[in-house]
């Protein structure tokens, strides 16, 4: 079974714009999903340059970058990514 990688940007911009709360993501995931997800902090994803700090905080879920993240949306997107990966593997 593949594990979904959730990378939370630990750059200062993301943190100041509310990214600190995303560290709590693990404790907010449904139990059925939690085992299929790896959550890691990562260095600045470089998305906040050129005045785009208003779109922070950023996270990368299964390779795809999402902006203006909050805890509720991060949970939703992570669950969706796990389900999508599950469907891909479940070819019988």
């Amino acid at each position: 079974m593949s594990v979904i990688l959730v990378e939370i940007c630990c750059g200062t911009t993301c943190h100041v714009m509310g990214g600190g709360d995303l560290e709590e993501l693990a404790s907010h995931l449904p139990a059925a999903v939690a085992g299929k997800v790896e959550i890691a902090g990562c260095r600045c994803l470089g998305q906040c340059r050129d005045g785009a700090f208003g779109r922070a905080p950023f996270v990368r879920i299964a390779g795809q970058i999402h902006d203006q993240m909050d805890l509720a949306r991060a949970v939703e997107l992570t669950v969706a990514a796990v389900q999508a990966a599950g469907r891909g593997n479940d070819v019988r």
């Binding site: 200062t12 100041v16 709590e24 005045g51 700090f53």
Partner: protein, 478 residues
């Protein structure tokens, strides 16, 4: 209480970042008037009724970021004009908080309301349990007579459908001293005779209508003046940003501070002095002493419970002691307290040794504007590592524990903690002053949880409390 992170906080921070960025680019006067448009361009989604109201509120936030009260806006001057005013001031000015009426939604007065979840049931426990007979059933649904209702909440508790809700006014609810209230027009107004500058209304208003008079620009000016500036960092800085304490020191030096000092050094001295003062007071037969390092509590005692004044410790705060020490060594430096607290600004305005008070939120905005990533910095050790007792000050119970540490073991110290000021806590403190104090050392923190939950924090208090505990463990033993 809302989480630290919410859209009003993000809005406030984005404005601060943009103002700081414009300053650092040397284009404050040229571009500050563009900020409201840049944040709400035509055809973008609005947070309020329309982008034009959004822009008006962002303009007020720009004024606040410049350190000017939003209500002083004549609406004719450009933001560039106001930036000129801000650049010319010698030192920060009050008031510390203000309500911008255009942003205030004028929430309905606090009351109980029956929602359409009401089933008009046969049992009708609401009508039976209402002590004022304020509830009647009309058109198959419960109705509350607002004239008769005393907001006791019994109906909310007994409704089997959870159909009755209490509509609060968040700012009024958050204020522990009744200093913010709706005026005749329905908009909130702060009564500065009562206000203790705790900043809770700022955090509580879901419309972001309470504006904080920032010292962001004063900080940037001090750093760019290339004159020596000392960062006095409060221990609750631990955990506010990703990265280590050593990286934070490096980030502050890179920002332009010439020296970084822990306020915890002053805190440890406070604990020693208060332990001695407590011993002297007890020897003189006094019933109890309260700690005095929380400036919002000091203001609350002065303005609302003067009976407490004889019991207040006369020891200066950690900030004052730390700043006085630096000034004594180097009279020419600019001293900048960096902490979680808004009320500290009030205190600093009466302390000749503390020039500026900057919150973690403002510091974060400056880091973002200067593109300094704390976690990417090299480790720079603090010149002096503070003693553990001082580092534990920002958590509820931490001050009393530190004082207790320095009280000789044979003296019977009974510490109690008032964790967060509220109307109830103030009544309790009043009772203490009237001879009903169960302990002989009372620690008072205006913010619930301690300074880690102050109005100027970035990270969640739980996370910061963990980091502060670790920092205290790593401190020197005293």
């Amino acid at each position: 209480m809302m989480y630290v992170d919410n859209q009003t906080a993000r809005l406030r921070r984005e404005v601060m970042i943009r103002v700081a960025r414009a300053f650092l680019d040397g284009e404050l006067a040229a571009t500050i008037d563009h900020i409201p448009l840049a944040m709400r361009p035509r055809a973008s989604a609005s947070s309020r009724c329309c982008i034009f109201r959004d822009r008006a509120v962002i303009r007020a936030r720009c004024l606040a970021a410049l350190g000017l009260p939003a209500e002083a806006d004549d609406e004719l001057s450009s933001l560039a004009d106001y930036a000129g005013l801000a650049m010319a001031r010698a030192k920060p000015e009050g008031p510390l908080l203000s309500v911008f009426d255009v942003a205030c939604s004028g929430c309905v007065p606090s009351r109980h309301q029956v929602t359409n979840a009401c089933q008009g049931c046969v049992a009708r426990p609401c009508t039976l349990n209402c002590p004022r007979d304020a509830i009647t059933i009309r058109d198959g649904r419960a109705q509350i007579d607002p004239e008769a209702c005393v907001n006791c909440g019994k109906c909310v508790a007994v409704c089997p459908f959870h159909a009755i809700v209490r509509l609060p006014v968040p700012c009024e609810e958050a204020c522990p001293v009744g200093a913010i209230a709706k005026d005749d027009t329905g908009k909130a107004v702060i009564d500065f005779e009562r206000c203790i500058s705790c900043g809770r209304c700022l955090r509580a208003c879901p419309f972001g209508a309470v504006m904080e008079t920032s010292q962001l620009l004063d900080l940037l000016r001090a750093l760019c003046a290339r004159e020596p500036a000392v960062a006095l960092i409060a221990p609750s800085i631990a955990g506010q940003f990703p990265g280590t304490m050593g990286q934070m020191v490096a980030a502050l030096l890179r920002l332009g501070f010439t020296q970084v000092i822990e306020v915890a050094e002053g805190a440890e001295e406070v604990a020693r002095l208060e332990a001695r003062e407590w011993g002297e007071r007890m020897a003189q037969g006094e019933s109890f002493m309260t700690t005095s390092c929380c400036p919002a509590y000091l203001a609350a005692a002065r303005k609302h419970v003067p009976e407490l004044l004889p019991h207040l410790s006369s020891t200066p705060s950690p900030m004052r002691l730390a700043a006085a020490r630096i000034r004594g060594e180097r009279p020419d430096v600019t001293t900048v307290f960096i902490g979680p607290c808004i009320a500290k600004r009030q205190e600093a305005m009466h302390d000749a040794n503390t020039d500026l008070v900057v919150t973690y939120e403002e510091l974060g905005a400056v880091f973002v504007a200067a593109e300094i990533d704390v976690e990417e910095q090299p480790e720079r050790a603090l010149a002096d590592v503070a003693i553990s007792q001082g580092r534990g000050f920002p958590m509820a119970g931490g001050v009393a524990a530190a004082v207790a540490h320095y009280v000789p073991a044979d003296e019977s110290l009974r510490a109690i903690s008032i964790d967060g000021l509220s109307k109830k806590a103030l009544r309790q403190l009043k009772a203490f002053a009237c001879g009903k104090c169960p302990g002989n050392l009372v620690e008072v923190m205006a913010c619930e949880g301690g300074c880690v939950a102050g109005a100027g924090v970035i990270a969640r208090p739980e996370r910061v409390a963990r980091a502060v505990r670790k920092l205290a463990e790593e401190g020197r033993s005293g």
